[in-house]
Amino acid sequence: MMPELGKYAGAVLGSYAATAVLIAGLVGLTLWQSVRMKRALAEAEARLGDK
């Protein structure tokens, strides 16, 4: 199943790994910030009776 990458395996696999790390970092950070902000806003709205 795995294609034969020959002498360029390092460059090709390195590119996919680096991209996966960078994109996963962006997605993870975005989701974490979203959840944190949603919770903080819900708490503030509940405290102030504001919806």
């Binding site: 294609p3 002498k7 395996a9 460059a11 590119s15 960078l22 806003l41």
Partner: protein, 242 residues
């Protein structure tokens, strides 16, 4: 109905909440299809060998790095002209996404360049303008973080965005302006002679569509977070006054 109605934060939140499940699903589907197709089911290039598989990451990321800045330019102009807060927040939300794509393009470009050109980096017009674009992204994000008043931050970052647009366009057209350097011309062109071979072209187009949707999804999510953050600040300010 006017398009400006969506500049209303409540309308934007309602519309984006309905759109997000679809954009997430389509992003996963297109990225998985394009990358699996490109990685597992396309042949090696007769000159570049298996390194041609990097094209499915490098080209979409580089395209979106530039297009993200263009989107920030448009939303910044809307902020400057019409003072719609959602547009300023959308520009702010897009910057980390654009920066990530720029880093992906630079890293995959270096990894591709080393075996093909014999060097990780060259002070080639396209590479250099891309590096400057990266610095503009960092400066833009830092400027938003450095200024307390959100309207002042939006004003100043919009001006920075206008200036940075020169380098975004240079990154796109550097190869045409200065017909020199190591970097080849566009991989996708309206001129069929200049395009990559058909066997690479289709999965590349699917990957590009996946990257476009990834950008769109991330910007929607991040803009929603920015709108919530703005509302939280307003509530806390009201609490302090009361």
């Amino acid at each position: 109905m006017s398009i400006w109605e969506y500049a209303n934060p409540k309308k934007f939140m309602a519309l984006s909440a309905g759109a997000l499940p679809w954009t997430v699903g389509l992003t996963v589907l297109l990225l998985a299809t394009g990358l699996v197709w490109g990685f597992f089911f396309t042949p090696d290039d007769y000159r570049q060998g298996s390194t041609v598989k990097i094209i499915y990451l490098h080209v979409p990321a580089a395209m979106m790095a530039i297009n993200a800045w263009i989107m920030m330019l448009v939303t910044s102009l809307i902020w400057i002209i019409r003072r719609h807060h959602v547009s300023a927040l959308a520009a702010k939300a897009a910057a980390p996404v654009g920066l990530t794509f720029t880093l992906v393009a630079l890293v995959t470009g270096a990894l591709w360049g080393q075996p093909m050109w014999g060097t990780w980096w060259a002070w080639d017009p396209r590479l250099t303008s891309f590096l400057i674009l990266t610095l503009f992204y960092l400066g833009y994000i830092a400027l938003w973080a450095a200024i307390e008043d959100p309207d002042t931050a939006a004003d100043l970052t919009s001006i920075l965005c206008l200036v940075g647009s020169v380098f975004a366009l240079l990154s796109r057209y550097a190869v045409n302006f200065w017909n020199q350097g190591l970097h080849q011309g566009a991989s996708l062109s309206l001129d069929k002679q200049e395009n990559v071979a058909d066997v690479f072209w289709l999965p590349l187009v699917v990957s590009i569509a996946g990257f476009i949707l990834l950008f769109f999804t991330m910007v929607l999510l991040r803009t929603r977070t920015e709108i919530r953050s703005r509302r939280l600040k307003a509530l806390l300010a009201r609490e302090r006054v009361a």
